[in-house]
Amino acid sequence: MTLKEKLIILSDSAKYDASCSSSGSTRRNSNGVGNAAYSGICHTFSSDGRCVSLLKILMTNACIFDCKYCINRRSNDVKRALFTPEEICEITMNFYKRNYIEGLFLSSGIIKSPDYTMEKIIETISLLRYKYHFNGYIHAKAIPGASEYLLKKLGKLVDRLSANIELPSDSSLKLLAPQKNVDKISTIMDTVKKNRSKSFTPAGQSTQMIIGASKETDLDILGKSEHLYNTYDLRRVFYSAYIPVNKDNLLPSIEMPPLVRENRLYQADWLLRFYNYKVDNLLDKNNPNFNVLIDPKADWALRHMEEFPKEINKASYYDLLKIPGIGPKSAKRIVSSRKYFKIEFKDLKKMGISLKRAKYFILCNGKYFTNMEIFNKRFIESNLILENKEPIKNVGVQLSLFNE
């Protein structure tokens, strides 16, 4: 098999992992090639609009496990390939020096045993770090069930480790990935958390959940994320809209991946991490899924009209964050600027703050952007929906608004 054929097989089967971030590490170029950029760098964008920053490949797509949703599962009749450590190093170095990538994201199917697979991954990355003197960013997948001492060894070599939880509940995991179990994944997360330092996964750990392959609600999923953030100091939970690659009657049959739902979860996840929201604020048992037509923050605001409109010149930092269209950057800007002058609507524009959504929810110096009469839930809601630029072709539900 040529190198190119291998690359096709082993990048094709790695592409469903949503993570591609290269941020959070300050690894220096001590004596060799490369370093890490703390803010991360996108090198290109593929035709699905995703950032490409790392050479995302599997070491092998052969696997002894049989996870139902996975293209590489044992029972599938697909072409299998295996990269040698040298091949991975050569491609990484040659891509890196041409500035195609920030580094490597190495994952793998499980061959022989979890320990054997981990040893192979460690061998490859050691070669890259010590023989090729590569100081760029490396993200490696930890193999569930591998021994702790191997995990500790790997953690010292890489910038980020991840173990994908894939399914938000134990029962779904049992059903769809019978050879994995939650304990194995929690053990990995726990070890990484305990050992994390400047020389052990400086960019921390992340995980991924598949959205729409099992029956969980958004409340279940986001609740799981909140729990993971609190328990294991995860840097990121990634959400990956389920794309059917296998036929299996345990799996739902869908036409289009639930991209809007995925997007809502990302938006809500953002609110958890940077806006001080709790899952309970956003969803509850009677309301366990996000509104597909409106983003979670605006949805929250519309359900709490009594809190608005907020006076820009007075509201606290955290209150400013509740205003749709205003993020941490804008809120900070407002707080530091209003010490020096009274902020008017025209100033917000000059401050680089978009009024498109915010204007409905704020007062500037006691003034509303137009007649206060329009300040009612129905009117604002329909305007926000109409202004929404997201592709609605993938919503996957009837747009009731237009049938009213």
């Binding site: 609009g49 995703r50 040659n94 500035n99 195609y100 010490k339 020096y340 000059k350 680089g352």
Partner: protein
């Protein structure tokens, strides 16, 4: 109000602006001498200044952050950038570091916006630039909107310190040449002919990269608009993976 000219260097511009502010002179326009279009009614003034001392005094009045912001604006392709720097520095002397919160003042908000734009393009270019491996060095051509070659070379010097490389801004005819020790900047005319023979493995890795780029895209998620928003077409010329699109 008069027109003022400078020789095109950043230090001359700062020296001139500082002199104008200190003497409470309000310029009509400030231009590089080679970009100035003379008109019948106005004789422009070209001041010969000892910049070093002027800049040292300026440094005592404003922070480094102000000077960096001004430098980014200087690198921008904005037409009246000299006047924006003039207005920005005038306000920076008045408000010290709180100038960055005074976006209610038009020239300040413009200054911050433009400097962010330049910084933003420099950051993007760190990702979008592509080196080709030649026989003796790595070679990249860029065509940035702003004159950012000056601020991206450090990044590549840290990263690829054991390789010789050359980055060419083909819009402005400027070369940055790294020889394992330092970066030298040259103009098109100063360059002796470069040997642009490709290294033997160049086509192999270009092909592998294009293959990888095509394979990682998930076709069920195709979103060309999003792709274009993040990687604007104006950069595609020098991104080899975009060639066949």
């Amino acid at each position: 109000m008069n027109d003022y000219l400078y020789d095109g260097t950043y230090s001359s511009l700062l020296g001139l602006i500082y002199t104008l502010i200190k003497s409470k002179t309000i310029p009509n326009v400030i231009k590089r001498e080679d970009e100035y279009i003379s008109n019948l009614f106005m004789e422009p003034i070209y001041l010969k200044l000892e910049n070093k001392e002027l800049i040292n005094s300026l440094k005592k009045e404003v922070s480094m952050l102000v000077l960096y912001t001004a430098y980014y604006i200087y690198l921008s392709n904005v037409n009246n950038k000299e006047m924006i720097i003039y207005g920005f520095i005038k306000n920076a002397i008045k408000y010290k570091n709180t100038v960055f919160y005074r976006r209610d003042i038009y020239v300040v908000s413009e200054a911050i916006r433009i400097s962010n734009q330049v910084k933003g393009e420099a950051h993007r270019m760190k990702g979008f630039l592509r080196f080709k491996k030649m026989k003796n060095f790595y070679y990249a051509t860029i065509e940035p909107t702003h004159n950012i070659i000056w601020i991206i070379t450090r990044h590549f010097k840290d990263r690829l310190k054991d390789e010789c490389w050359i980055i060419k801004d083909s819009k402005r005819g400027v070369y940055a040449i790294y020889d394992l020790k330092k970066v030298t900047y040259l103009q098109e005319n100063d360059i002796i002919k470069l040997n642009l023979d490709l290294s033997d493995d160049e086509t192999l890795f270009e092909d592998l990269w294009k293959t990888f780029f095509k394979t990682v895209a998930i076709k069920e998620r195709e979103n060309l608009k999003c792709q274009m928003n993040h990687a604007p077409k104006k950069y595609w010329n020098n991104m080899l993976e975009m060639e066949d699109l």
